[in-house]
Amino acid sequence: MQREEKQLEASLDALLSQVADLKNSLGSFIYKLENEYDRLTWPSVLDSFALLSGQLNTLNKVLKHEKTPLFRNQVIIPLVLSPDRDEDLMRQTEGRVPVFSHEVVPDHLRTKPDPEVEEQEKQLTTDAARIGADAAQKQIQSLNKMCSNLLEKISKEERESESGGLRPNKQTFNPADTNALVAAVAFGKGLSNWRPSGSSGPGQPGQPGTGTILAGTSGLQQVQITGAPSQQQSMLSGVQMAQAGQPGKMPGGIKTNIKSASMHPYQR
């Protein structure tokens, strides 16, 4: 007996806290709708609904909990009805029910739904019974199938749009560019200060392929002249060699000085 009482009390407490949470979220939702209706967005409304549905779910779970005694078996009987203000009651109901009187009791302690609601419910049950078990099953199945199809379509749409959005963001660097830039800084690939004449000029700096070959030949002049693949390139690099020939003669005369310069004159 005592165990059942304890269970009853514990379950009542749990129920109370759940209902209080539900009341709070409903209250905040109503406030949101009334005061911020011009700034309200559909996702925000959905959030509130989701919150409410979650709380109703937990409420249901609490009621279905095995430790909860069947409330159906409990009966609430008003013992004393008085038209006076009851401070205790006021405190417990947060000021909503000041008087435990004849008007308040039928509303608060009712167990049957409204007559209209009762009518509708009776109608629905007769309709459901009329259809028959098989047809009902078929209808249930088709509803489930349609719901799942819809869910699948939505999730696919979401996935596709997400992946499409991600891909352009991913490219923050281009490895080919990295290589080109590093080569330019390291040994002047693509930056050749060698200016070919006329028509080939504007075309070639734009083409990295020929640019590299040209830079290669200009960088390794006297050694690699024979390696130049095409006619035009060998002719042009031959021109450069002629130009470089003269300044090349000068270092010959001051060879020794240059050697010491390259051996770190600052070494002292």
Partner: protein, 208 residues
């Protein structure tokens, strides 16, 4: 009693061999802003420093096949700044675990008649470019984000065009030789810039 000398290194003459540790990557133009924001957060707190430099690379052809390369850099937007002459050696072929490119590095500040001096010595200009970008610092690490512009008319730094649609990102440290933990610090910093930029050691010889 005289205080003992500050440095316990034997003074045999010569400079301390400085090595440059380098990691490079690039970032596309449209992602530059996010990279700059991230770097401003990660690096030492200072005003956003931009630079506009004109770099000329001089070659000296001796009898040996590989020419001697010197890099002369001048600032185009800071009046009165000295010219910067730099020698970079061949990348050291160390163990594969080293995370950064390491090469011998000698930096010298010079006066403005550097190009004339080099020409008299027999150097010839091989190529030149203009670098424009931002500079960040974190401790001894220096991060440069810059765009390379090709100079269309030799000697005229006004007629320039961008080399590509990306900015080059360089993380470099100049430290005495033998301090390999520097590359670990660099690698950790580079991790923080992913996935915006992939900083890695790129061997220039591979790109020849």
């Amino acid at each position: 009693m005289e205080a003992p000398p500050v440095t316990m290194m034997p003074v045999t003459g010569g400079t301390i061999n400085m090595m440059e540790y380098l990691l490079q990557g690039s970032v596309l133009d449209h992602s530059l802003e996010s990279l700059i924001h991230r770097l401003r957060g990660l690096c030492d707190n200072m005003e956003l420093e931009t630079f506009l430099d004109h770099e000329m690379v001089f070659l000296l052809k001796g009898q040996q096949a590989s020419p001697f390369v010197l890099r002369a850099r001048r600032s185009m937007d800071r009046a009165g700044a000295p010219w910067h002459l730099r020698y970079l050696g061949q990348p050291e072929v160390g163990d594969k675990n080293r995370h950064a490119l390491v090469r011998n590095c000698v930096d010298i500040a010079t006066s403005e008649n550097l190009t004339d001096f080099l020409m008299e010595m027999g150097f010839r200009m091989d190529h030149e470019f203009v670098a424009k970008g931002h500079l960040f610092r974190k401790g001894i690490m220096k991060i440069m984000v810059y765009k390379i512009y090709r100079i269309l008319v030799p000697g005229n730094t006004e007629s320039i065009e961008a080399l590509s649609l990306s900015y080059l990102v360089e993380l470099s440290v100049v430290a005495p030789a033998g301090q390999d933990m520097v590359s670990d610090d660099m690698r950790n910093f580079a991790e923080q810039l992913k996935p915006l930029v992939h900083l890695e050691k790129i061997d220039p010889k591979r790109l020849m």
